[in-house]
């Protein structure tokens, strides 16, 4: 059984006079440990698709089944718990809590899960070491570079021990060196922890490293191919 099964997914926005068909009849399966990029031009439906997979948005029709659980019929109150326990999020703008240190940012998601203080601290420090920030544990986001902030965001996404990580344009705000370094880290985590990564991106640097690329256009999958990632430059 695939980790994520997407079947005949449609998402229509009726907020304007003309309905906007953001996702059209999308069907695909995502297996464990995939390192997959959803690509396409702006407005192609990448973010909408990721939002539906992440339980942040509901499909108009069709369904998303994760580990045998249908998210499309799950009430909002349960979706919050589901997101907390099963999905890690990495955002384009890092979106860390500015008043917290790197450690506290990573710890916070575990606090929401009810993990005890000692374990929270140990796991947060361990994760920050793994993402190469052992020296910046007590730094606040404003004291970190963009690349470092995104590493903290990755550590935060992994802190809840999710089934998979959704990364929406994770490298869009990073310079080449930081982007490559972040992708190295994600690849390593993908290999080491059998962690599934799903990116939405139109960054060529990400596409080069992905092992599967799903291309969207006008909300439809126009191409779904398994690729051999380029070797690191």
């Amino acid at each position: 059984m695939a980790l994520i099964e997407i079947t005949n997914l449609d998402r229509i926005y009726n907020t304007s006079a003309v309905p906007v068909h953001a996702v059209r009849d999308v069907t695909c399966n995502i297996e464990k440990q995939e390192f997959m990029a959803v690509v396409g031009p702006s407005g192609s439906g990448k973010t909408t698709l990721l939002n539906i997979i992440g339980g942040l948005d509901k499909p108009t029709s069709g369904k998303v089944v994760i580990d045998g659980i249908d998210l499309s019929t799950m009430p909002q109150s349960k979706l919050v718990d589901y997101r907390l326990g099963h999905i890690g999020f990495v955002f384009q703008a890092y979106n860390l809590i500015p008043v917290f240190t790197a450690r506290e940012n990573v710890e916070f998601i575990m606090l929401l899960q009810g993990v005890n203080k000692k374990e929270r601290e140990n796991r947060a420090i361990d994760l920050l070491k793994q993402v190469g920030l052992s020296e910046r544990i007590n730094s606040r986001p404003a004291q970190l570079s963009g690349g470092e902030q995104q590493r903290v965001a990755v550590a935060r996404a992994l802190a809840s021990r999710p089934a998979f990580v959704l990364a929406d344009e994770p490298t869009a705000n990073l310079d080449t060196e930081s982007a490559e370094s972040l992708l190295d880290l994600m690849e390593e985590l993908n290999d080491k922890y059998v962690m599934t990564f799903i990116f939405s991106t139109h960054d060529a640097r990400v596409m080069r490293r992905a092992r599967r690329i799903v291309s969207l256009q006008d909300g439809k999958i126009v191409e779904d191919k398994v690729v051999t990632p380029e070797k690191k430059q």
Partner: protein
């Protein structure tokens, strides 16, 4: 950690938070200090009335207040007075012989209440002796010494050592006269009292009345303010044939004012907090609007809306309590300073004297007020947080995340 996050969030925009904290501080300080002045004034009026003439408890013959005739004295008053002095909880008691009469000087005359006292006994229950501005407290070789108020002295054009003739009804229904010599002029906080009351030695009154000692009123001081009602109840049992009243029974208007001052105080501070509530709501709303993306992220990663709600309420409560404690702190310091040194209101002494308040005011606020005030602040903060918290919990995370 949620509490820590809420506290840190307050200080993300220092200027904005400090402005609302300053508003709460000054608002509460004003409310607390004004309330302390009101309570201080009220306490002063009550204390003044008790010290001047009411004392804590008074005993009369039943229905004396309806007919203050000279013959309406307490039966066997001297014995009653002696018995009262041995009742537990009583610090001092003084018998008064009271007759309505007329005071006349060569230039004018005026209706007064003539109060016959044993000076040393009276000293134990009231403080007229301390209100003398001229002369002495019955320390005179002159025959028939009298203490009069300054207002009466002005009205009758009397000075120290002036002669004043008192006329009043005797026990047989005839008119008795006594020529007295002014040995002391007192001035209390009530010009009305000063104008209408004169003190003479009880012995002189008995001589003119040609009667055995008679007492119309027994003034009592209890050992403590807290036990007044208890002592009154005991006396009511012991002297069921007499009228036993506490100062609250005798001056219900003062008791009512004292009680309502507390209520007005809460209403007054409540209105201030209500006004501040809008400021807090505005600050919290701005804070939520500034953090829409962040709140969206928190909800997206799995923070329950109930926790987001609690976080916003905590921020509002912490912000309000910070301002509240600053306001209470400044208020306590101000009250402590003026409580010791007093506020000199001599400039408006005329109007204050007309309703029996002192010209030096000592602000005072009961400790319970501070506790209730803190509770009121927390309640106001919770109300102020409702709209911002509602807004925060109704964010759609997928849209909020993309807000810049």
């Amino acid at each position: 950690m949620l509490l820590s996050l809420a506290w840190k969030n307050i200080w993300r925009n220092k200027k904005r938070s400090l402005i609302i904290i300053a508003a709460i501080t000054f608002g509460l300080w004003g409310g607390i200090f004004s309330s302390a002045i009101m309570v201080g004034m009220m306490e002063s009026m009550v204390e003044t009335a008790i010290s001047r003439d009411l004392s804590h408890i008074q005993i009369h013959k039943k229905d004396y207040d309806k007919d203050k005739d000279v013959r309406n004295f307490i039966p066997d008053g001297i014995n009653v007075l002696d018995n009262i002095r041995s009742v537990k909880g009583i610090r001092a008691a003084s018998g008064r012989t009271k007759i309505i009469g007329m005071a006349a000087s060569p230039s004018s005359s005026y209706g007064v209440e003539i109060i016959g006292i044993v000076p040393e006994d009276s000293k134990q229950v009231t403080d007229i002796y301390a209100k003398l501005i001229e002369g002495s407290y019955f320390k005179s070789d002159r025959k028939n010494p009298i203490l009069i108020g300054r207002k009466l002295a002005e009205r009758l054009n009397l000075k120290l050592r002036s002669k004043v003739v008192l006329s009043f009804q005797n026990l047989e229904g005839g008119i008795a006269y006594i020529a007295c010599r002014v040995v002391g002029i007192f001035k209390t906080n009530s010009s009305q009292f000063d104008e209408m009351n004169v003190y003479v030695a009880q012995g002189d009154m008995f001589r003119i009345l040609e009667s055995d000692p008679i007492i119309h009123e027994i003034a009592i001081r209890s050992e403590s303010v807290e036990t007044i009602d208890l002592v009154r109840d005991n006396l009511l049992i012991l002297f069921s044939n007499l009228q036993v009243e506490s100062w609250k029974d005798m001056a219900p208007e003062l008791a009512y004012l004292s009680q309502t001052t507390g209520i007005y105080m809460y209403i007054f501070v409540g209105i201030i907090l209500f006004a501040l509530l809008f400021g807090i709501t505005n600050t919290m709303l701005m804070s939520v609007v500034d953090r829409i993306r962040e709140l969206g992220v928190l909800i997206a990663i799995g923070m329950k809306k109930s926790k987001v709600f609690i976080m916003i309420v905590l921020e509002s409560v912490l912000l309000s309590l910070t301002g509240g404690f600053c306001g209470i702190g400044v208020g306590v310091l101000t009250i402590a300073y003026y409580g010791n040194n007093g506020i000199d209101l001599t400039a408006i002494s005329g109007s204050l004297e007309s309703f029996g308040a002192t010209t030096i005011l000592y602000p005072f606020l009961p400790a319970m007020m501070y506790i209730i005030l803190t509770i009121m602040i927390v309640i106001a903060a919770n109300i102020a947080a409702l709209l911002p918290a509602w807004k925060a919990t109704h964010l759609v995370p997928s849209e909020a995340i993309r807000t810049y």
